[in-house]
């Protein structure tokens, strides 16, 4: 029976959506990394379609969702646990490396630092008002310079001159890069300069004042960028570990948390089933409620013509539908 158990972790982020399928022994059987492209529902359906092909008659025992789209994802798939990204990432990191003390996570629009001591999260921080240095900014620069994002990091490693790029703000960084290009600096030097600027920005803003101790795990989509990794190592003067599943650690954490909850409370899953989800017709609408001066923006999710969930209101007038959501949707 235990061999039949599978757990699903879903991390719907601003830029990418990640899915992992985990067995009872916490091994990752399959991982799927897709671009969200602003269409979270379709991406969830697509991701699950891929996952379904490896399920092989086994059963889903629990589903966890995380990421900025965790609520939506949970509504669509029927999740058992909905967790914030910080906790999800921390849980996965501690499994991969039980002695981990620092987690650097840089995603599409968020960057975070998680400080762990003796197996518990003791501190964390996320970027506040500035998204400089996150994946979407790097993507944008790569597109502007017309280099595939995959080659970005490798190119940075070729540099052996330190060109200084302004790192305080994405707008400054971009204009500084343009100037340096016009002055004839070498491409790879500028890119290496950018990597270092982004790391500086991260250390000064996100990791401000935190004690960064080894072992350090670097995860999230940007961890694929060897240039940024090298710049971190250069700046901190220590080794940075990029875990094997660096890009799906959030989803992994969500699956682990789902497993933990289901085991502890011996519950059966809310999961709606692959066929129901993949073949279902979901649609969303949003509108501004005029009931009062709060003018809440309400989002409504429909499944096969039936209202699945609504949210966004402050008063509960619209989101009340949540309570009978389960009867409405076939399991």
């Amino acid at each position: 029976m235990a061999n039949n158990e599978l757990y699903l972790g879903i991390d719907v982020g601003s830029v990418s959506s990640n899915f992992i399928l985990m067995d009872a022994k916490k091994n990752i059987i399959e991982k799927v990394y897709l671009k969200t492209m602003g269409k979270p529902i379709e991406v969830i359906q697509k991701g699950l379609e891929i996952i379904q092909t490896v399920v092989n008659g086994k059963k889903i025992f629990g589903v966890g969702t995380t990421g900025s789209g965790r609520l939506l994802a949970s509504t669509i798939v029927g999740a058992d646990i909905v967790k914030n990204e910080i906790t999800a990432h921390a849980v996965a990191s501690m499994l991969i490396n039980p002695s981990v003390q620092t987690v650097i996570e840089i995603g599409g629009q968020d960057s975070k630092i998680i400080i762990i001591r003796n197996g518990i999260v003791v501190d964390f921080a996320m970027n506040t008002v500035c998204a400089a240095g996150t994946g979407s900014f790097l993507d944008r620069q790569a597109t502007r310079l017309n280099i595939p994002i995959q080659d970005f990091g490798k190119l940075a490693l070729k540099s052996n001159t330190k060109v200084r790029i302004a790192g305080r703000c994405a707008v400054f960084a971009e204009s500084d890069m343009v100037h340096k290009q016009q002055m004839g600096y070498k491409f790879e030097d500028i890119i290496w300069g950018l990597c270092r600027a982004l790391v500086r920005n991260y250390i000064n803003n996100v990791a401000k004042g935190k004690e960064i101790k080894e072992p350090i795990l670097f995860q999230g989509g940007v961890a694929a960028n060897e240039g940024i990794k090298a710049a971190f190592e250069d700046h901190l003067n220590c080794k940075i570990i990029v875990p094997k599943y660096y890009d799906v650690m959030g989803a992994y954490g969500a699956a682990l948390l789902a497993r933990e909850k289901m085991k502890k409370l011996s519950l059966s899953t809310n999961f709606y089933g692959f066929d129901n989800i993949c073949n279902g017709k979901y649609s969303t609408t949003s509108f501004e409620c005029n009931g009062c001066s709060n003018m809440c923006e309400i989002v409504e999710i429909e499944y096969d013509g039936k209202i699945l969930s609504r949210w966004g209101d402050k008063c509960g007038k619209w989101s009340m539908v949540d309570s009978f959501q389960k009867e409405n949707v076939g399991r």
């Binding site: 609520l71 910080i86 906790t87 501190d123 001066s293």
Partner: protein, 327 residues
């Protein structure tokens, strides 16, 4: 005919409303309060203010404009410079009536007494009578209105000390409800919520943080719950006097609670661009980091209405407390 006085439900409303309301009502006025902060009020404030001011000031403008839709004879915008000797509050408060005059047209008569107790409180009586004589020439009536107002304020502060949120406390005062024992401190953990009153008590600005924390089984302690003597006792030990009254309160709270075992975490709410907090917040944060014993989190607030990022931080913070406590 009865005169109407409008009071915006913003900024120091949370600290002094019972006094103001009672004072004007005792003088025969009817007091009209602006509606609760909403997106509409925020938008109307943003429309008329410069980009650089903090969100609470923008929202104050919105409340003034909300009041203008009502039939008012007067609008009450005190010019508060200093409340305690050798202390000040944020300069935006002393410029408030001017800011409103510049940014908003067609205002009714503004009542804006200058409250400046930085040197002494000698002027107090003068201020009371100047404002009071707009409505009556009877000095006894004015003085008694003030006394009654102060009484109400005392009860109000007692309610806050017990943990009631301002809206509830005002409700109890206005509707003369019996003093109920608070039934909200039943959570597993206790969090000290630091921040200016107009941020931690305005549920629109703070995205309902108190309710959210309570839902996650956290009790919430706010700076208004600690007696002034205890605050004074803590800040006396500092090498230099903190001359911002509101910031002093926050520092005193931090220093007091950090020594007790009453709290499991501290959340500091800051408005983006807040001047005093850019220094005091930094100071508290440095101490907290050095101390390292308690989870501490800064949350910066501005005009965004998307709550996901805010909820993520809050949930992660409570998770952190939970896992720490349960080890």
């Amino acid at each position: 005919m009865q005169k109407t006085v409008g009071i915006p439900r913003a900024l120091l409303y949370y600290n002094y409303y019972p006094l103001w309301k009672t004072f004007f009502e005792e003088l025969g006025c009817s007091v009209i309060l602006s509606e609760k902060t909403s997106k509409e009020i925020m938008n109307r404030g943003i429309e008329v203010t410069v980009d650089d001011v903090c969100l609470p000031i923008k929202i104050y403008h919105g409340h003034i404009r909300n009041l203008l839709m009502k039939d008012l004879d007067y609008i009450f915008i005190p010019r508060i410079v200093s409340i305690y000797k050798k202390e000040y509050i944020c300069p935006k408060f002393s410029g408030l009536p001017d800011m409103i005059r510049c940014n908003i047209n067609e205002l009714p008569t503004i009542i804006s007494p200058i409250i400046d107790w930085s040197k002494s409180r000698r002027e107090l009586t003068k201020v009371i009578f100047t404002v009071g004589s707009i409505f009556t020439s009877n000095p006894y009536k004015i003085w008694s209105a003030y006394k009654k107002g102060i009484n109400q304020l005392k009860i109000y502060k007692l309610l806050l000390k017990q943990g009631f949120m301002p809206e509830d406390a005002i409700n109890i005062l206005v509707n003369k409800k019996d003093l109920l024992t608070p039934d909200f401190n039943k959570g597993k953990y206790t969090v000290l919520l630091l921040g200016h009153s107009y941020n931690i008590y305005d549920n629109f600005i703070n995205m309902n943080i108190v309710q959210k924390l309570r839902k996650m089984e956290c009790n919430v302690i706010t700076p208004e719950q600690l007696p002034t003597e205890k605050i004074e006792k803590e800040v006396e030990k500092l090498p230099k006097k903190i001359f911002w009254s509101m910031s002093k309160k926050l520092v005193g709270n931090y220093l007091h609670y950090i020594k007790t075992s009453e709290i499991q975490g501290i959340i500091y709410l800051v408005s983006f661009g807040c001047g005093p907090d850019s220094l005091i917040g930094e100071l508290v944060w440095k101490w907290a980091n050095k101390n390292g014993q308690l989870p501490f989190m800064f949350v910066t607030l501005d005009e965004h209405t998307g709550e996901t990022g805010f909820n993520t931080r809050l949930e992660a913070f409570v998770d952190m407390i939970e896992r720490r406590v349960n080890i």
